[in-house]
């Protein structure tokens, strides 16, 4: 299904879509307030953007520096060209450990690689330990938001789900009660897992360490109880120096949820005695995106989700309407690079209002890239897909006479045709909107009579 079809479906439940819009607007509003408490906010964004520009311009060097330093620290570094290689590497490590049950903290990259179904197919039980992720996992759904994975669900739905899965009291919707039930359930999983998988927010080239940011502490809980830690990192997540974190950690949580900082910012540098840390550096289309000049800086993304919270389309169509691992505006400029045909409606799921660009903590020109992707999408569709109106338009607009004739034909048609013909089902504009009342003369005609 295309984005417009999914969006129309989502909007059918008007009460829920209104709630969805207001909930995410609340998060956006919190972000506005907290960011305005930092006088140097705009300079921070500028700095972050500059640091990422430098990273993207020297990515290979920083990655090799990271590999050298991480290896020195005792971390085992792997490289994966694509999702298949990434998944295979994870499975191999699990098999070496003879591990049949693994805990995972939130990682968009493993969603992107579809790691869970792959591991399950190979007999490994995967438990997502972030509360929101666990909820959508119970439902066999992907996350609908990269920071708030279960934001599409209301308390009542979670209560019903937990009653079924965790035997909580029927009808008890108290968030503290439900969270406690999830805690007890997850605690068992943490104790049982020999291997813990996490994502990576930042990899530091200078020190060979990496940083994982969570609010629930679930990444730390998993890692500290397990013998082996597998960290999965997109190659664009590199930062040159440890002190760069002073810029990024200030921006990340404020942009994401309006908090001053994430509750846990954990640095992983050396494995504890007798334990192992593996890091898998994943390309999966990133170097291809790096080679696309107009779309390169989409790789600056730090996955804060602010563009989703602000997007008037996302708030009213829900994350699933995008049918891509990363939904919302940033997803709509990343996903076409992975599969242009599948995601061809996404660059058009925008009014190009530009709000996404202005909330982005690393200043990605998201709405301009949406515009540029539109130009790419139409190239692949050929002349056939172009509507007749589009073919005519350039001819009309470059010729003043053709423009004059078509304009007066249109106004006269609107004046003389009965409403039943004007508001014909083919006139999508008129389904829920009136057309303006046609004036008797155009401005051009008025001007000729009155001024020249």
């Amino acid at each position: 299904m295309t984005h417009p079809e999914n969006a129309a479906e989502f909007l059918k439940d008007s009460e829920k879509s209104k709630w969805h819009d207001e909930t995410l607007w609340f998060v956006r509003d919190k972000r506005d307030k907290v960011s305005k408490g930092i006088p140097e906010w705009e300079q921070l964004r500028e700095l972050a953007s500059g640091i990422k520009d430098n990273v993207l311009a020297n990515l290979a060097d920083y990655l090799e520096e990271f590999e050298r330093n991480a290896t020195k620290n005792g971390i085992i570094v792997h490289w994966a060209a694509d999702s298949e290689e990434h998944n295979r590497l994870v499975l191999e490590i699990l098999q070496q450990q003879n591990c049949k049950a693994v805990v995972k903290s939130k990682s968009i990259l493993t969603e992107e690689c579809h790691l869970n179904p792959y591991l399950e197919k190979h007999g490994v039980d995967v438990v997502d330990t972030d509360l929101g992720e666990r909820i959508v996992q119970f439902l066999n759904q992907p996350p609908s938001h990269i920071v708030l994975p279960a934001i599409h669900l209301k308390k009542r739905e979670i209560s019903e789900l937990f009653h079924e899965k965790l035997q909580t009291e029927k009808g008890n919707e108290d968030p503290a009660y439900l969270t406690q039930a999830a805690r007890v359930h997850l605690r068992e999983k943490f104790f049982a897992a020999k291997v813990a998988i996490t994502g990576v927010n930042f990899g530091i080239a200078e020190t060979g360490e990496f940083v994982v940011c969570t609010n629930e502490g679930n990444a730390d809980m998993g890692v500290h109880l397990a013998d082996v830690h597998i960290a999965c990192m997109g190659i664009e997540k590199i930062l040159p120096r440890r002190k760069d974190l002073g810029v990024f950690l200030r921006l990340l949580a404020r942009s994401a949820t309006g908090q001053p900082i994430t509750n846990y910012n954990s640095h992983f540098r050396n494995p504890s005695p007798g334990k192992e840390i593996h890091i898998i550096l994943v390309d999966n289309g990133r170097t291809a995106q790096l080679a696309r000049e107009k779309f390169r800086n989409s790789l600056k993304c730090i996955r804060c989700g602010a563009c989703m919270n602000t997007c008037p389309i996302y708030r009213r169509s829900g994350g699933f309407s995008y049918n891509s691992t990363v939904p919302g505006p940033i997803g709509s400029i990343l996903s076409p690079g992975l599969d242009l045909k599948k995601h061809s409606s996404l660059p058009f799921a925008s009014t190009l209002c530009g709000s996404c660009t202005d909330v982005c903590p690393v200043k990605i020109n998201i709405h301009e890239q949406l515009y540029e992707w539109r130009q790419e999408v139409t190239k692949t569709q050929g002349e056939f897909a172009k509507g007749l109106s589009m073919k005519l338009a350039n001819g009309i607009f470059k010729s003043p006479l053709a423009y004059k004739i078509s304009g007066s034909l249109m106004r006269n048609a609107l004046k003389s045709l009965p409403n039943s013909l004007i508001y014909h089902p083919l006139n999508i504009w008129g389904k829920n909107r009136n057309l303006p009342d046609p004036p008797t003369e155009s401005f051009q005609q008025w001007y000729r009579k009155n001024r020249s």
């Binding site: 209002c353 009309i396 607009f397 003043p400 389904k431 909107r433 303006p436």
Partner: protein, 252 residues
């Protein structure tokens, strides 16, 4: 004449020309009242934005060439639409052989309000408009041309249109809950994502209605056409005027 007042060419967007001639007239009369020597270059058509936003920027070479040639001989080009102005400045394809003219155009084209505040340097307009007015901030004018501060950015608040309106005697300015959310027009988006477009428009209207707006105004008739179309369909008693119409009425 030429020594004192700059020559201003009016660029009237195609849909304003065809559907809202009164907005073109108000723009012309207003600029004349402010002492400009205004011409409407005949033969102008459209900036080509509908095509480009639909993904066919490469097919707008003819339209853009015609535009650059039509407006070449004037000191300024003024347009009562932030969106069309932005398109000419930022999204015209590069036209071979007209580089110099194109670059000059990008620096001499202005949206109406910014022309009044930034070029004519008019800070206050003396006039009367005793109505409760709310302002729809159009995205391209706001975030593209920076006609007002965006709620997303940490910057001192400003609004060029408000500066001109607020000083009018009797005008009651409405504060909205969401000061600059998109109305959902979005050009072809209005048709290709019809359901979303309508919902966004309804939500925007609701904000204006909740604050007891009498007249909804803005700098872009395209957004207003969309909002008015939804309001008329649901028989809401809300009036819609372009900024130029309010300013022109107030000054008479």
């Amino acid at each position: 004449m030429k020594t004192n007042s700059p020559s201003v060419a009016l660029f009237i967007p195609c849909y304003v020309d065809q559907f809202y001639p009164q907005v073109g007239i108000a723009t012309l009369e207003l600029l004349e009242k402010l002492g400009c020597q205004v011409t409407y270059p005949s033969g102008q058509t459209c900036c080509g934005q509908p095509l480009a936003n639909a993904g066919y920027a490469r097919d707008t070479v003819g339209t853009a060439t015609h535009f650059i040639e039509t407006f070449n001989d004037y000191d300024y080009v003024v347009c009562p639409s932030g969106s069309c102005t932005l398109h000419v400045k930022d999204h015209f394809p590069a036209i071979a052989g007209l580089q110099k003219e194109q670059e000059a155009l990008e620096h001499k084209i202005f949206e109406l309000v910014e022309f009044i505040t930034d070029i004519l340097k008019i800070e206050r307009l003396e006039g009367k408009f005793p109505h409760r007015v709310s302002f729809h901030s159009s995205c391209h004018g706001q975030r593209g041309l920076h006609l007002s501060s965006g709620s997303e950015l940490n910057q001192p608040p400003f609004n060029k249109a408000r500066k001109l309106l607020e000083n009018l005697e009797g005008l009651d300015w409405v504060e909205l809950t969401r000061t600059d959310e998109c109305c959902g027009f979005g050009g072809t988006f209005a048709v290709t994502e019809e359901a979303l477009s309508i919902q966004m428009g309804k939500d925007r209207l609701e904000d204006h209605l909740q604050h007891k707006t009498e007249i909804l105004t803005g700098g872009d008739m395209s957004c207003i056409m969309h909002l008015q179309g939804i309001a008329t369909r649901s028989k809401q008693e809300l009036k819609f005027l372009h900024l130029a119409e309010i300013l022109n009425q107030a000054l008479s």
